[in-house]
Amino acid sequence: MSKVPDELGYTKDHEWARKESDGRITVGITDFAQSQLGDVVYLNLPEAGTAVTAGEPMGEIESTKSVSDVYAPVSGTVVEANSACVDNPEVVNQDPYGVGWMVVIEASDASAAGSLLTAKQYQEVIAETGGEEQA
């Protein structure tokens, strides 16, 4: 069963987002996503200063000779990309909600995180994709 922490927001494209105390949004892909992808071998993330749009691709991830897009959960500007994650992509599999975080975004709309899916709603997304039974 994939981990879906209650305190995070989610997208239907399997990204997670956490609003930090300074208002910025830390983003990664979910435990379910990494399990669907298999061993991650390459990450291409946007550099700091890049403008991203909610729901649009902001990076790429390669696993098992398969290239997938990583989507921005909120619109705004990337203020930090996790270079440790780029250098060691396997951490996305090992710790997707921790060391495997991908970028920090300064959201253009401070309330943007509020429109993300809750953990319960995201579990329903997983169930609808046929991936797993609901908890």
């Binding site: 992808l37 298999g38 390669e62 696993s63 098992t64 000779k65 398969s66 290239v67």
Partner: protein, 235 residues
């Protein structure tokens, strides 16, 4: 391969959820390079010196020499399946097709996660093997619930040529004529069409439709990232 990407783009924008399959060969021969693979400039120059084009694939994985081989592409919805599950769905069609040629094929054992320069040197767990040796390498790109998968069957023994071009030791991968000496592109294509028909339903043969051609024209008008930024800059 631009046409394959056009089929994917068109599928993403349309409501026809049937799989699309293409089978083709290359003239002149080409080295296709995975979406994120860095190829040494010496490899690119070696290919160009030998009349081999070097192109960038939208799919992942390593480098593949296309020389009298058969290349397939499949565009299909993921339907919530994992990457490995979609590989296995395509593999099941390929295995049925190879059976029509009298071959007992299976999926290759999973190899190391580390990407290799030469695609056939790294089994993924969903590649096709015969007698324990890799006969078909595959790679994918996944976008918004659809995947495009490429795969290649070497028909002739090009292993020494690959080793010479990629600066690799000759690998132990297989080629079709080893098992079916009379095999041609045409006999393999007919067998694979049978396999895909079994897995995906009866085919409706057609060329690219108007919308797909428009996507192809747009893709061809955008310069794809080169295999290396400037092969001459580092020699």
């Amino acid at each position: 391969m631009a046409a394959d990407l056009a089929l994917l783009e068109s599928a993403l924008h349309g409501d026809d959820r049937r799989p699309r399959v293409r089978l083709y060969r290359w003239d002149p021969p080409a080295l296709s390079v995975g979406a994120h693979l860095d190829v040494p400039a010496s490899v690119v120059l070696g290919c160009l010196d030998n009349g081999i084009e070097v192109i960038r694939r939208p799919t992942g994985g390593g480098a593949v020499l296309h020389d009298r081989d058969l290349t397939y592409s499949v565009v299909a919805p993921t339907e919530g399946r994992s990457v490995l599950e979609t590989y296995q769905a395509v593999a099941s069609a390929l295995i049925v097709g190879l059976k029509a040629l009298g071959l007992e094929a299976g999926t290759a054992d999973r190899g190391p996660a580390t990407p290799a320069l030469h695609c056939f040197a790294a089994p993924t767990g969903a590649d096709i093997s015969v007698a324990g040796r890799k006969l078909c390498g595959s790679a994918q790109v996944v976008r918004r619930g659809w995947f495009l998968q490429h795969g290649t069957f070497p028909i002739f023994d090009i292993r020494q040529k690959v080793a010479s071009l990629l600066g690799d030791a000759a690998d132990s991968s297989a080629f079709l004529r080893e098992f079916v000496p009379s095999a041609t592109f045409e006999t393999l294509a007919l067998a694979l069409i049978e396999g895909f028909a079994t897995a995906f339903g009866p085919p409706a043969a057609r060329g690219l439709n108007r919308e797909e051609k428009e996507h192809l024209e747009r893709i061809l008008s955008v310069e794809m990232p080169a295999a290396v930024a400037d092969p001459l800059a580092s020699v």
